[in-house]
Symmetry: C2
Subunit: 324 residues, 2 copies
């Protein structure tokens, strides 16, 4: 298995220059006071398409041989990888077909369609999205781009970590720890690759939803453990079945621990971000912030980088979270 390394992250950064947003590393005293420490929020919700996923999606398509690329791409995703792929495919002028669960947030399916992507829906409980996706690839010659277990995707997500290292250095700051949500572990794998070289010494923690704590259990057992459910959390972006075959070997030796976050804590973090930070987060995107606000991972007397990974949430759920 050929895993990406630091040089692949650097190469991805060059490809993404001027296309991905260099998202800000935010500071807000209200958050510092809430946790009793110094916090920097890497606001990937401000990324093109409203989540970090554009980074990996674009890099993956850029790495495809031209002969394959012109036949288009297929992805399955609850919506953020979907929008990232659709946006990247639009920039390359190729077709994207996205297999999405029927219960995915409408804002995410709309975001795919608005970018010219084709949406094929399936039922989470009774249908196999991988089978549907492979069928679509066979029909059209398109290439499947997985949402996390993919060389180019991991390297692309790593550019987020690269920026964090640069942004800390620009301010002459260091961080004690970083907290990032984990679904399949693609983003945190990329961040691990980037920080190991550019800002070693930062302890990296994951955060994942209650009931979908496959990473916590996998780190404990030392092998890739699966979730028993496929749905049932509002943190829809983080419901992958298990740590990836590529991401786990990268993450296993590097992750210091996992904070497990309830949906209520994620919604409370959305409300905090709305009221104090003035950024829009979706439940999964608020998971890492929730981990420190709830104290599942202590940020007291430390400097913590929190990755706020996405902000694509339906209006009704957002209104409920903020008490509107």
């Amino acid at each position: 298995m050929h895993l990406p390394g630091f040089s692949d992250v650097l190469a991805a950064a060059t490809r993404l220059q001027g296309l991905a947003v260099r998202t800000p590393l935010l500071w807000n005293p209200a958050l510092d006071e809430a946790v009793g420490g110094r916090v920097r929020v890497k606001a990937e919700c401000l990324q093109r398409t409203g989540s970090f996923k554009f980074r990996g999606a674009y890099n993956a398509i850029a790495l495809m041989p031209l002969a394959d690329r012109v036949r288009g791409v297929v992805a399955f995703s609850s919506g953020n990888h979907a929008q990232g792929i659709a946006e990247a495919a639009r920039l390359f002028g190729i077709r994207a077909t996205i297999v999405m669960p029927a219960d995915a947030p409408a804002i995410k399916a709309d975001g795919v369609r608005a970018r010219g992507g084709r949406v094929v829906t399936y039922d989470r409980a009774s249908e196999d999205r991988e089978l549907i996706s492979r069928g679509l690839c066979e029909e059209t010659g398109a290439t499947l781009i997985p949402s996390f277990d993919h060389f180019g995707v991991i390297a692309g997500q790593g550019t987020c970590g690269l920026e964090i290292g640069q942004q800390l250095a620009e301010r002459a700051e260091t961080a004690d720890q970083l907290v990032c949500c984990v679904g399949g572990g693609g983003l945190i794998a990329g961040i691990n690759l980037a920080l190991a070289e550019s800002a070693p010494g930062i302890a990296v923690y994951g955060a994942e939803p209650e009931g979908f704590d496959d990473h916590a259990r996998s780190l404990a057992s030392g092998r890739r453990e699966h979730n028993t459910r496929t749905s049932g959390s509002t943190q829809d972006a983080l419901l992958s079945d298990a740590p990836g075959k590529m991401t786990f070997p990268i993450n296993q030796p590097r992750l210091k621990g996992i904070g497990v976050v309830s949906d209520e804590e994620a919604l409370a973090a959305i409300a905090f971000a709305w009221r104090h930070l003035k950024i829009v987060l979706e439940p999964g995107g608020a998971c890492a912030l929730a981990a420190i606000l709830s104290g599942r991972i202590s940020a007291k007397d430390k400097t913590t980088v929190v990755v706020a990974t996405g902000g694509n949430v339906d209006a009704a759920l957002f209104a409920r979270a903020i008490g509107g």
Copy 2:
């Protein structure tokens, strides 16, 4: 009348270093596509207290003689200057009393109280907030800090413009125009002072609410025109009676024009910012963005800096704006 100049803005920037947030200048391709030009959003909603007002409030208190400062400060404000003053007073360890209209957004009054400020409410239609404020000052020896017509306040707000100039330069970018909302004109006066020296050549436009177009009429007539109403717009941050005695002489020769924005357009801009930019704006804070999204000020084929001034909005109104 002693008006602030560029050096006063520079001095304010030194005072605010490490206390005010250096808010990011955001880029999002979705906004560029929506207006057919290049847009950079100066996200002052991400400022300490959720609006730019902390800059001027802190600078004004810092400029007070110590003997006066210890007796506390009084302000009247619909809520953003109020929170700015309360937060700055908290940092200086002095008392702040804020005179707020009874119909001010609850989130703003709560924000004052959470920062240790005392809130005194009045009825917009029947009571004179200036009279109440002066009474409070006489009782306690506190000093009134006006929300815009004040040397230190204008200089402090100017630090926002200084950062815009620096942030454009850091990216080797120039801008054709800047759009910023106007209430009393304090922020745009400070920005004018800063840009005239640091980034001349940027055409500065104001944006104000329909029915409260005192700046548009004042620029047309050449003298300070008053609004006929005191309430009746959801853009509560922008309902000042008239351009300031200090701000108008600064702004009159520099403003290229005004875009007048309806409440519907401001709410639509809140929804756009929520859906695409993932930042939280209040109606007044979305006014400048609304001016370019609605085409009241054309951003087509230009590079436009839009100042998003604040994000303190009650949950119910926000939910209505985003369709939740």
